[in-house]
């Protein structure tokens, strides 16, 4: 059997003999992507466990086994891990690395050694973040947003968390930079921007956000650190500083950051829907350009986080109005996906199930976002469980669900084996039901006035918290089930061919599954569109050795 990327690799420094060192020093984009996945999901489960602990606390009113301060640290830990360690790097670091170069027919990313360095920068950030649990006065209790002036006054270990977020931000910037240059420079001959698969478009739009927005939050965190150490005054009202300025600078990054999370996820959706509908995607250009315009509009809407923080009415109206605009390109994508399925030969494999589930959950997440974009409604719903539910429907029910979809979709590509479809589908249904049971009651509780980030509540909210709790248990059961299915697939799944889904994009035209070290045996010439199907069969066929078309 031919060698795959599991058997051999290029290294950043020297040629180590041991397999372990080969993994640690690898510059191969596929290996780096897999390592990101392993680290991220480890932290993901830590954050899930923290969330479950909070659900236990909230099962009944009053303090059960966690006091208020611990609860504050718990939701901060949950937020910091989920945002900075998991979902922001998430899809770009995992699938941007593993499949993006394959999709454009490149041998690797533009700066492979920088990619390796970035991975270790990410690990350093993770270590700093998590070690602050045991250093000093304990983990930060500010929430993941570190709002001044509380973050400046609290005795907990905010500085380490800020440093960690800065280092992780650097890693994110360098990933984006690497991908931008890769997409500009390393596309196979013949592949113009409008012949790229849509996932690559998602990564491209994301990379611009990573590049342009992250430095702003980076310097904001630095300023907060300097404020805490030296008292420069910039966010400290006792010296004339303005804490609301912190919120502005923070959200100038952190709002585009949610589009940074969702755009590559939309890219995964745009891969899965045509493949499993066996039909060319409807409105390729509109999907590609809507990614770009979401990235653009996303910069101009940060003020909607500050409707209750003190801002002129005119600014509120403008930010509210601009926020509605995000719904337009998103809506275009939704219609395009649905139109793609219309008249297609739909195959209900697990990735497609996840994509369809996400169409529902993200529609709820997105539309509830439009309601809180309205100034008047937001005054009522700000900082309630309604926002919490909206955010989790959009992020967990959008980004994470599509990440899971991508994991099922590209699993045979990464490992050359197949998981059990039956178990994977069961896991999907469990999670889908658990997810809705977990979050939907929060819309109602929030609408009735349940505030977020409280460890205690009035007795009338108990029913919602208890339904949520059982939803959480079902959801986590499904989650564990899914990972066990993956594990069994890796251990002793059936071997697959390089293209088990009858997909059309270049990452499925490899000589072997899993792919060899330097990807395609020869770089193909691209004179076709990414999703060409005829009568439910892929149009373009390659000889995987010479990479010449044989259709």
């Amino acid at each position: 059997m031919s060698k795959t990327y599991f058997d051999e690799t290029h290294c950043a420094i020297g040629h180590p003999k041991s397999t372990f060192m080969q993994w640690m020093l690898t510059v191969d984009h596929k290996r780096i992507g897999l390592m990101y996945a392993a680290v991220m999901f480890t932290f993901f489960f830590v954050a899930v466990a923290t969330a479950l602990a909070m659900r236990f606390e909230l099962f009944a009113p009053g303090a059960q086994f966690m006091d208020g301060d611990t609860f504050n640290q718990a939701f901060t830990l949950h937020g910091v891990i989920m945002i900075f360690l998991f979902i922001v790097p998430g899809i770009p670091a995992i699938f941007g690395n593993i499949v993006m170069p394959l999709m454009i027919g490149a041998k690797d990313v533009s700066f492979p050694r920088l990619n390796w360095f970035t991975f270790w920068l990410y690990i350093a950030g993770c270590i700093i973040a998590v070690s602050s649990l045991w250093v000093g006065e304990g983990f930060a209790d500010t929430g993941w947003t570190f709002y001044a002036p509380y973050s400046l006054n609290t005795g907990t270990n905010v500085i380490m968390t800020l440093v960690a977020a800065f280092v992780l931000g650097m890693a994110s910037i360098l990933t984006g930079l690497n991908f931008l240059v890769t997409i500009h420079r390393l596309r196979a001959p013949g592949m113009g921007f409008f012949q790229m698969p849509l996932f690559v478009w998602g990564i491209y739009a994301t990379a611009w956000i990573q590049l342009l927005a992250t430095p702003v939050v980076g310097i904001t965190l630095i300023l907060a650190i300097l404020e805490k150490y030296f008292g420069i005054g910039i966010f400290d009202p006792s010296k004339g500083g303005d804490p609301v300025l912190f919120e502005h600078l923070f959200w100038i990054y952190s709002h585009p950051a949610v589009y940074l999370m969702i755009l590559p996820a939309f890219g995964i959706m745009s891969e899965i829907i045509p493949t499993f509908s066996r039909k060319e995607i409807f409105g390729y250009r509109t999907i590609a350009l809507s990614s770009a315009s979401i990235a653009g509009i996303g910069y101009l809407v940060w003020g909607h986080h500050l409707f209750t923080s003190g801002m002129s009415d005119m600014a509120k109206v403008i930010f509210s109005f601009l926020t509605f605009f995000v719904a337009i390109p998103t809506g275009i994508k939704f219609y395009d996906w649905v139109a793609t399925m219309y008249g297609g030969k739909i195959v209900l494999s697990t990735p497609m199930l996840w994509a369809l589930g996400t169409l529902i959950t993200f529609a709820i997440g997105g539309l509830t976002g439009v309601t809180i974009a309205m100034v008047g409604v937001d005054i009522h719903l700000q900082d309630t469980y309604y926002s919490v539910a909206h955010f989790h429907y959009a992020m967990l029910g959008g980004v994470a669900f599509l990440l899971f979809a991508g994991m099922h979709y590209w699993f045979p590509l990464c490992f050359g084996k197949m998981y059990s479809e039956k178990h994977a589908k069961n896991a999907f249904y469990l999670q889908f039901i658990g997810f809705n049971m977990l979050w939907f009651p929060m819309f109602i509780a929030g609408y009735l006035g349940m505030p977020r980030r409280y460890f205690d509540y009035l007795p009338e909210f108990q029913i919602y918290h208890q339904v949520s709790f059982f939803g959480a248990v079902i959801f986590i059961t499904g989650l564990v089930y899914m990972f066990v299915t993956f594990y069994k697939g890796i251990k002793n799944g059936e071997k697959t061919t390089p293209n088990p889904w009858n997909a059309t994009t270049l990452e499925w035209h490899l000589p072997s599954a899993p792919p060899p070290l330097e990807n395609h045996s020869k770089v193909p010439y691209v004179d076709f569109r990414p999703y060409e199907y005829k009568h439910g069969e892929p149009v373009v066929k390659f000889d995987y050795v010479t990479m010449k078309r044989i259709d």
């Binding site: 290029h10 490149a106 041998k107 690797d108 990313v109 533009s110 700066f111 492979p112 050694r113 910037i173 930079l177 690497n178 931008l180 240059v181 890769t182 500009h184 420079r185 390393l186 196979a188 001959p189 013949g190 590049l211 342009l212 927005a213 992250t214 430095p215 702003v216 980076g218 310097i219 904001t220 630095i222 300023l223 300097l226 030296f230 008292g231 420069i232 005054g233 910039i234 400290d236 006792s238 010296k239 004339g240 500083g241 303005d242 300025l245 600078l249 100038i252 020869k522 770089v523 193909p524 010439y525 004179d527 990479m547 010449k548 078309r549």
Partner: protein, 232 residues
């Protein structure tokens, strides 16, 4: 890695051949990557200039007064030093391009010396300010004591030390990068045919001096007129 890289050829259906761009030896790609990195620096300093402008609009008179107390001669001298260092850096790159390795190294050394002079002057300035009781952590920049300066001046000096400090940090990084560049030139890893590293470090140095070109008027020159700045 990639020194004997031979580009692959892709062939289309009519037999036409196309050279494939690899990541190895991609001068344009290296340039693009570094330009993008410069963009992140601009965004980072941009956010601080935004904060500076905001507080200037709130505390105009205080800012002008605080600015008047800075030493414009030393600041101006440093501006000239940085501009000349940008010139030597650029000349060094030109010499590298025509293959004059010795001249290029000389120019890089000149840039390093000018950078050290800049840091020396900066140190003199900061020391003088420290002796006047104006420094991060000293009473004058804390609130609620007998020596406290007004809000606007506290903010001015907070941002002054932050931004010139961060800029100085970039100068130090730049000196390190230039020393590394010299080492690579001596090892013949950077030469006429392969000088992307030199090009990017020159680009970096241009950005460092460009930031100073904005920092200087914003901090030193706004108080250059009447001490009250005409605010009354």
């Amino acid at each position: 890695m990639g020194h004997e890289y031979v580009p692959e050829i892709a062939t289309d259906r009519d037999g036409n051949e196309y050279e494939v761009q690899g990541w190895q030896g991609d001068f344009y790609g290296g340039k693009l990557g570094f330009w993008l990195f410069m963009l992140t620096e601009v965004m980072m300093f941009g956010a601080m200039f935004l904060a500076l402008t905001y507080y200037f609009s709130l505390h105009t008179a205080d800012f002008v007064n605080a600015s008047a107390s800075l030493n414009r001669y030393l600041g101006g001298f440093n501006t000239v030093i940085l501009l000349v260092s940008a010139l030597t850096m650029g000349l060094g790159l030109l010499k590298m391009r025509v293959g004059d390795i010795k001249g290029a190294k000389l120019m890089i050394w000149a840039t390093i010396i000018l950078a050290i002079v800049f840091l020396g002057v900066k140190a003199v300035e900061w020391t003088a300010e420290y002796n006047h009781g104006v420094f991060l952590g000293l009473d004058a920049l804390q609130s609620g004591n007998a020596h406290s300066k007004p809000f606007g001046e506290i903010l001015f000096f907070g941002l002054y030390f932050t931004m010139t400090g961060l800029h100085g940090f970039h100068i130090i990084i730049g000196i390190g990068l230039m020393l590394w560049l010299l080492k690579r030139i001596n090892a013949n890893k950077v030469n006429q045919g392969h000088h992307i590293l030199h090009f990017n470090i020159a680009l970096y140095w241009d950005l460092v001096h460009l930031i100073w070109v904005f920092v200087f008027p914003y901090f030193y020159m706004i108080g250059a007129g009447d001490v009250t700045g005409g605010a009354h």
